[in-house]
């Protein structure tokens, strides 16, 4: 296909709707507790001064408080800032209710994260009614049926990228359309870094190719974009800005992982081993529940001085047992040359294979080990997580807390499975 001759915006109708819950965690906390409404609040990973703010409320954002700031920095901007710890079950519950409500309109509904949904209305009655009207109806129904304090941004466009862009044009509580009639006006009012996925480094790449504005980018021939991106991304950007769909790919899960930001100081492998064991227990239980085993493991550590060490290992055998995976991880941990305070630690299993694949071993009874894992998982499922757990994990309560994966969508599949 010769893309260079398609220098025009798509004539396809705007069938895609992007819905984004405003300041998700903070707004849900205000929904739950009316005494917090209208006040600057923030949900932070930890409420301590160095805790990271994961969601400031709309009111807090007006004081310049942003996601990623430390609690102490937020308090400098607004000393009376109310800081709350995350309550993932609350947020997941709202996610499921939103999903149920939105599925009344189309079955082409994809959750992009805990607070974002993409709906495709092509061929559904709501499209004939008009998507702006449908969007307004969805806003009203969310207030009436899910929570009266909840507001959403809605963007409508011919593709997912532009629908997300439209959803961000007027925050909070916006409803905007980008289509063949107004795209030039929208592009002319935006800066490059306001496009999703274009931040400083990509902007610098584009600048080096003579592209300084969104209009420049739209008008640039494909070869000019290729000189900036040096990859297939150039083709995708060329298509996206013209309203063609390039983001409708769904990727299969390739790994399971768990990580934690450490509150206390851990320096040696012996110090961190209970935390490592708990992470491995959580990760492997999720992996087994979804019906997978793994042929690779990975361990990553971020130290308090900002440095990073990681090591992965592809295995000759298929693994599923927490104890076995822990032993491999612990050996990897000893490969780290550093003995300095850790800030974050994360474990991952990759090269997933379906659970029904087993590899018999001459020296041990793999089937017996599998039956033991299934039995332990069943007991923990019935009586609560970690009812049966390794002794090494004693005193790790409150260390590896339940968290909502940032921007993740894969955990939402597990959430639906759990329902």
């Amino acid at each position: 296909m010769d893309l260079s001759i398609k220098n025009d915006f798509t004539q396809n109708p705007s069938t895609i709707m992007h819905i984004d819950l405003n300041s998700c965690f903070a707004t849900i906390e205000q929904q739950a507790n009316p005494l917090l409404r209208g006040k600057p609040i923030a949900v932070a990973a930890f409420t301590t001064p160095t805790g990271c703010i994961v969601a400031p409320s709309i009111e807090a954002k007006r004081y310049g408080i942003k996601t990623g700031m430390r609690v102490k920095d937020g308090k400098i901007l607004y000393p009376d800032l109310i800081v709350l710890p995350p309550d993932p079950m609350k947020y997941r519950s709202i996610h499921l209710r939103l999903k149920a409500l939105l599925s009344d309109y189309t079955d082409q509904l994809v959750p992009k994260s805990i607070d974002e949904f993409v709906l495709d209305f092509e061929g559904f009655p709501a499209f004939n009614k008009g998507l702006v009207k449908t969007g307004s109806e969805i806003k009203e129904r969310i207030k009436k049926e899910v929570g009266d304090w909840l507001t959403v941004n809605i963007g409508i466009a011919p593709n997912r990228f532009l629908a997300k862009l439209a959803a961000g044009l007027h925050k909070p509580d916006g409803l905007d359309v980008i289509d063949k009639d107004n795209y030039l006006k929208v592009y002319s009012e935006l800066e490059l870094v306001e496009l999703h996925y274009i931040k400083q480094r990509n902007a610098a790449r584009l600048n080096s190719a003579g592209i300084f504005t969104v209009m420049d980018m739209y008008q640039a021939p494909l070869r000019q974009l290729r000189s900036a991106f040096q990859s297939i991304l150039a083709n995708w950007w060329y298509m996206k800005l013209r309203g063609y769909e390039v983001d409708d790919r769904e990727f299969a899960r390739k790994s399971y992982g768990n990580g934690v930001a450490l509150k206390d100081t851990y320096v040696t492998p012996e110090d961190i081993s209970p935390v490592l064991q708990k992470l491995v227990e959580k990760m492997t239980a999720r992996m087994r529940k979804a019906g997978f085993k793994a042929k690779g493991v990975h361990l990553g550590i971020v130290y308090r001085d900002g440095s990073y060490w990681h090591q992965g290992k592809s295995l000759t055998e298929i693994v599923f047992d927490s104890r076995e995976i822990y032993k491999i991880m612990y050996r990897l941990l000893w490969h780290s040359p550093y003995r300095k305070p850790m800030r974050e630690i994360g474990v991952t299993c990759f090269e997933l294979v379906q659970s029904d694949q087993s590899q018999l071993n001459l020296f041990e009874d793999v089937e017996k080990k599998e039956r033991l894992s299934v039995a332990l998982d069943s007991i923990n499922e019935k009586y609560g997580h970690f009812v049966i757990s390794p002794a090494n994990m004693m005193n790790t309560d409150g260390i590896v807390l339940d968290r909502v994966a940032f921007g993740g969508v894969k955990e939402l599949e597990e959430l639906v499975l759990a329902q």
Binding site: I28, Q31, A32, N33, P34, L35, L36, K39, P79, D80, L81, I82, L84, M89, K90, S93, I94, G147, W149, N380, E381, K382, Y383, G384, H385, V387, A418
Partner: protein
């Protein structure tokens, strides 16, 4: 200020058979009665086999997180908040 506690409490609820919704109406805590003005959020979670209902409710000056253990049928106040900074 938000105070995290875990104290069993007396809770009067009303079940509306037309809407099929159960709502906490009165909380008796530390010798005082609190009339529930608003249920901000009701959600559920499961810990093992035990299913819990969580009602985030507010009265005139305080907000409570009430948790009903559906196995033991015990109500617990897990959080009390006055909506002010610590």
């Amino acid at each position: 200020m938000i105070q995290r506690i875990s104290i069993p409490a007396s809770v009067k609820t009303v079940f509306n058979h037309t809407t099929r919704v159960t709502t906490p109406k009165v909380i008796l805590w530390e010798g005082r009665e609190y009339l529930v003005k608003k249920v901000g959020l009701h959600h559920t979670f499961r810990d093992g086999r035990v299913f819990f209902h969580v009602f985030s409710v507010s009265c005139d000056t305080l907000a409570f997180r009430l948790v009903l253990n559906t196995e033991s049928l015990i109500w617990t106040i897990e959080e009390v908040s006055d909506g002010l900074v610590d």
